[in-house]
Every structure is written in structure tokens, then in C-alpha cells.
């Protein structure tokens, strides 16, 4: 009975229109926009999809979703359960809900240890809020597991995970023994969308809630300090090229760029 653990984080919606994306520089936080709900981090949802594709082939695979965050993170777990995952673990503790990546990795690693035995840990390649891309690999290091990153395809059979990774200018196939950590990228494909029936079934699936005390560890400490968070001023004055016809506009653009020696 293979057991896969998927890490899933809830983040502010990255589709938030640029005009509404604002930062409270004093608090060093993004200002939530009324009416725009937080969402599961996209690469983590792709990770759940990767696990479900394994479960499509091996029906008795169990998928556990683990999410660290405040009350609202429960929605991210519910979405993953509606996609087809089996159970959830919500780590909800003010001592770590806002931790940096290092304390987060320690906390998640401790939770994962409590969920032994497992064959595979899947995470997104980076969370789409901080884009740091370290938690998956760091958990692998803490648990002394091999990690394979930036997967576009993932298969598991006979104690081996076979990953196709995206390289800068191509692809590579890597095998790793289970248990291991794999982080996934968008090239893996579209995650399945839950149907209404599955959303209702998900309500019956178990979600445990843990605090740091339940993990049997000292509260993990941050190793970094966020000094500043700001929106860079990148807007510039755009020169719009116009013409009597599309053809003329195209030609004027070329002439203008040539004047600036850009051609």
C-alpha cells in the first residue's frame, strides 16, 4: 500500500490584478484584497496531481496532504481532498504559521516523521508567494532522503521513483530509491479539477489538526530575517505608435526603433 505525502501551501491569489497588489511596508506583508480569496499554491496542486496519477495506476495508494498555516489553510487541504487525496494534516500554530522557510521545513519534517511509513514526499518546486524553492530539498536533507527537483513526470514502482526533470536546455531522467522527495513543475501538466460529487465526498475525509507540541519538537527558529518587502517602481512612460492603418503602424514602429538604433 504505497503512501504519498503531498505538501500544500495556501497563498495570496497570484492572479490578483497588478493594480490591486499592494504591500504594507511597515508590516512587511501583502495586503489582502477584499473579495480575492487565497488559493492553493499552483505548483503544490500540480504535486497533488502527480500523486493522483500514481494512484490512478495503483488504486490502494494513500495520499496525505500536509499544510502548515492559519485556519484558512484548511481550504487548501479540502481542495486537495476533493481532487482525490485521502486524508489531511493541518499544522496550525501561531508559533510557526508565519515562520521562515527553514523553521517551516523543520516543522514539516517533524510532521512527516509522525506520518511514517511513507514512500514519497511531493512538493511544488517553489511556493508562488515567496518563490524561494528551498523547502522540499531542505526536508529531504533533514530526513536524509534523496531529492529530485523540477519534475515534469513522475512514476513510482518497485521501490524506485523515476523522474523526468526539466533542464535549462532539455530533459533528464533520474531514478531514486523510495522514500525520497520530488518537487514538481508546471511542465507536468494541468491538475484535475474536482467535480461537485468529489467536493461533497471530501467533507467526509479526515483532517487532523496538529500544533508544534503534537510534533514533539522544540519550536523551530527562523534562520533569516525579512528586512524589507516592497513593490518596485518599474513603470515607465510608454510611447505608443499609431498610424492610419495597421500596416502603417507596423512600418512606423520599425522606423522609430531604427531611429533609436535598436534594430
Amino acid at each position: 500500500m504505497p503512501h504519498i505525502i503531498c505538501l500544500a501551501k495556501q497563498v495570496p491569489d497570484p492572479e490578483t490584478p497588478a493594480a490591486q497588489f499592494k504591500v504594507d511596508e511597515a508590516a512587511k506583508k501583502v495586503i489582502p484584497v477584499p473579495g480575492i480569496q487565497p488559493v492553493p499554491s499552483q505548483f503544490d496542486t500540480i504535486g497533488v496531481e502527480a500523486a493522483l496519477r500514481i494512484k490512478d495506476d495503483v488504486a490502494d495508494t494513500t495520499i496525505t496532504i500536509v499544510s502548515l498555516g492559519p485556519d484558512s489553510s484548511r481550504d487548501t487541504i479540502k481542495h486537495s481532498l476533493a481532487m482525490g487525496a485521502d486524508e489531511g494534516v493541518h499544522i496550525n500554530d501561531p508559533a510557526v504559521n508565519d515562520s521562515d522557510h527553514w523553521a517551516t521545513a523543520e516543522t514539516l519534517a517533524a510532521a512527516i516523521k509522525k506520518l511514517e511509513p511513507y514512500d514519497l514526499i511531493i512538493a511544488g518546486r517553489q511556493a508562488v508567494d515567496w518563490d524561494m524553492g528551498v523547502v522540499g530539498t531542505t526536508i529531504g536533507e533533514i530526513l536524509d532522503l534523496p531529492s529530485v527537483t523540477i519534475a515534469k513526470d513522475l512514476k513510482m514502482a518497485n521501490g524506485t521513483v523515476t523522474v523526468e526533470r526539466v533542464l535549462l536546455d532539455g530533459f533528464e531522467t533520474v531514478e531514486a530509491p523510495t522514500p525520497c522527495v520530488v518537487t514538481v513543475s508546471n511542465e507536468l501538466g494541468e491538475p484535475r479539477y474536482p467535480q461537485l460529487r468529489q467536493i461533497m465526498q471530501a467533507a467526509k475525509k479526515e483532517v487532523k489538526t496538529w500544533t508544534v507540541a503534537d510534533l514533539g519538537i522544540e519550536t523551530p527558529q527562523n534562520r533569516t530575517t525579512l528586512e524589507a518587502l516592497f513593490v518596485p517602481d518599474t513603470s515607465i512612460e510608454t510611447e505608443f505608435i499609431e498610424g492610419e492603418s495597421a500596416q502603417e503602424t507596423g512600418e512606423k514602429l520599425a522606423v522609430r526603433l531604427n531611429e533609436e538604433k535598436l534594430i
Binding site: 515567496w130 518563490d131 531542505t138 527537483t149 530533459f171 533520474v174 534562520r223 530575517t225 505608443f240
Partner: protein, 325 residues
């Protein structure tokens, strides 16, 4: 007392020095140095002098077939050992396939942390201040690392290399990889390059990119023709790569390639922040888009609002005419 900067240089697959190496050395020098540079791989010994010319005070060559191609388990023992021996104040790697993988593992091993994909590094006293994009490129964050060494990975082309000085002296030493095959738990069973025709995106002085506004993969033929006329390269937005309209290695953006051409022409691209993160240092962006409110125009020096299908062919032909004049 931790001091100096340790950088992890890289060789390319075809035996040259990856340009990020000179950038890391320059960054280390700008932070105050001295700079020690690890050069790991196979057949890399001959590149050590180039690292000295680029500004490294010491080059630690670790030359072993087990180190190519990169696998984390093969690199971490020597990386940890060297970091402890050199005892630097700062450790830098490139935001490359190697850096993305090795930096967090090494940071965890050393009980410290790493700030990834940094665009600006500076010192505040003896503390590193690392500035990096986040929220898909919509925001910037500045971090300090509480532990030692203070680690960061650097975005490619974010730092000017120093002028190479072939008369520069530096210490070159050799060290063992210190790892055996049975300690490497992963196995690479296949590797395939998707070789793009013509100029590499990362090196191109002109990049013409297509997005969903092209309406379909056929649109890219027009962009390819212009690229040929201008000696440039063709890029793509993540949306169209996900749709299979253009190859994955051409994706420009936060999780794709960061490009630094003199001219970037965005056709049918809305300008989502994660795409803009791939062109954040480009000085001359030209956008052609049907939507006057498209985000891409906020960063464009020149813009055309309209249907690319009607505008682009005339633009292309005029460019052809002006270039042959």
C-alpha cells in the same frame, strides 16, 4: 572568525566556463573578498586560470568524473568539507540547476540559510543584505541571514563580471571529491538536449517572444522570420509553453529563462508578473497587444495596441528593408 567569500563556479556541458562563474567572483569581490572559487566537474582543471583572471584569489579544483553531470549526493560531501575548511563569511552560487539544488542542501547541512535568486547583494557591516524578487516578481524582499555562512544564489546576468586580467595571480589547489558511487543515491538514466536553432536565448541581443495573443502555434513562424532578420532568438510565455505551442526551453519568466537582450519584442503577451520577472533588467521592451490595459505596457518603452496579425508582417518587412539599407 568567518571571513571572505566562497563561490561555486560551474563548467558548461561542452567544457567551457559557465559565465555565471565570473559574475559570482565579481559579486564576491564587490562584497569585499577575498574570493575563493570552487570549480567542480570533470576535465575542469584547465579552467582554473580563467577563474583567477576573473578575480578569484584562490581556486579549489575538484576534478572527478563522478561530478558530471551534477547530482546533489555527489557534490554535497566536498561542498560541506570545503565550506568548513574555508570558513567564509558568505557563500555564493548561481541560480542555476546546480545552485537551486545544492544551495538549500548545503545551507541545511551547515545549519544556516540561503536567499535564492538574488538580484542585488550588499553588506551592512558584516551582514549580507540579499534582495530578491517574490510574489511572482510583483514584489521585492530584502533578507539578512541569521547564521554563518550567509548564503545566496545569484540570478544570472545580475552582476557585471570584472574585466578579465590574465596577468592576475591566484592560488590554484586540487582536492578530492571525497565521495564514492555507492553514496550517490540517485541515478541519471537519460539526458536529452532540446537544441534550439540559432542564437541561444540567454545570449541573444534581440528576443522576440510570443504569447497567447498569437492565437496558435503557427504564429511563431512570423516571429522566427523576424528573429532571423535581426539575428535574434524566439522566446515564449509560460501559457503557450503549457499549451504546447512552443518548446519548454524557450519559456521566458520566473520559472523559465531570465533574458537580458538590448531589445525585447513581446507579441500577444499580457505581461503577467512571472513573465515580467524574466525580463526585469531589459531596457527596451516593445509590446504589441490588442488590449490597451495589458500589464506589459507598464514596462514597455514602445507599444502598439492592435491585432498583431495585421501589424507584425508590415513591421517585419520594414525591419528587413531598413537592415539591408
Amino acid at each position: 572568525m568567518a571571513s571572505g567569500v566562497l563561490v561555486f563556479g560551474e563548467a558548461t556541458d561542452d567544457g567551457g566556463l559557465n559565465p555565471v562563474t565570473a559574475e559570482l567572483i565579481a559579486a564576491g569581490s564587490n562584497l569585499g573578498g577575498p574570493v575563493s572559487c570552487v570549480l567542480a566537474g570533470t576535465g575542469v582543471e584547465g579552467l582554473a586560470q580563467e577563474c583567477v583572471a576573473a578575480g578569484a584569489d584562490k581556486v579549489i579544483v575538484v576534478d572527478d568524473p563522478i561530478l558530471a553531470p551534477y547530482q546533489g549526493d555527489a557534490y554535497i560531501p566536498m561542498a560541506e568539507r570545503i565550506a568548513k575548511e574555508v570558513d567564509p563569511s558568505v557563500v555564493l552560487m548561481g541560480q542555476t540547476m546546480m545552485g537551486r539544488d545544492l544551495a538549500p542542501r548545503l545551507a541545511q547541512r551547515l545549519g544556516t540559510a540561503v536567499a535564492m535568486d538574488c538580484m542585488v547583494l550588499s553588506m551592512d557591516g558584516d551582514q549580507l543584505v540579499a534582495e530578491r524578487p517574490c510574489y511572482g516578481g510583483s514584489a521585492r524582499a530584502k533578507y539578512k541571514i541569521n547564521g554563518t555562512p550567509q548564503m545566496a544564489t545569484l540570478r544570472a546576468k545580475a552582476t557585471e563580471p570584472l574585466a578579465p586580467d590574465s596577468s592576475r595571480q591566484g592560488e590554484i589547489v586540487k582536492q578530492e571529491a571525497g565521495v564514492t558511487a555507492d553514496q550517490v543515491r540517485t541515478k541519471i538514466t537519460d539526458r536529452r538536449k532540446e537544441k534550439a536553432e540559432g542564437v541561444r536565448l540567454e545570449d541573444a541581443t534581440v528576443v522576440i517572444s510570443g504569447g497567447r495573443g498569437l492565437g496558435g502555434p503557427e504564429g511563431f513562424k512570423e516571429l522566427e522570420e523576424l528573429a532571423e532578420i535581426m539575428g535574434g532568438a524566439v522566446g515564449a510565455s509560460r501559457a503557450v509553453c503549457d499549451l504546447g505551442w512552443y518548446p519548454v526551453p524557450t519559456q521566458v519568466g520566473l520559472t523559465g529563462k531570465v533574458v537580458t537582450p538590448d531589445l525585447y519584442i513581446a507579441v500577444g503577451i499580457s505581461g503577467a508578473s512571472q513573465h515580467m520577472a524574466g525580463i526585469s533588467s531589459v531596457k527596451n521592451i516593445v509590446a504589441i497587444n490588442k488590449d490597451a490595459e495589458a500589464n506589459i505596457f507598464k514596462a514597455s518603452r514602445f507599444g502598439v495596441v492592435g491585432d498583431w496579425k495585421e501589424i507584425f508582417p508590415a513591421f517585419k518587412e520594414k525591419v528587413r528593408e531598413l537592415k539591408s539599407a
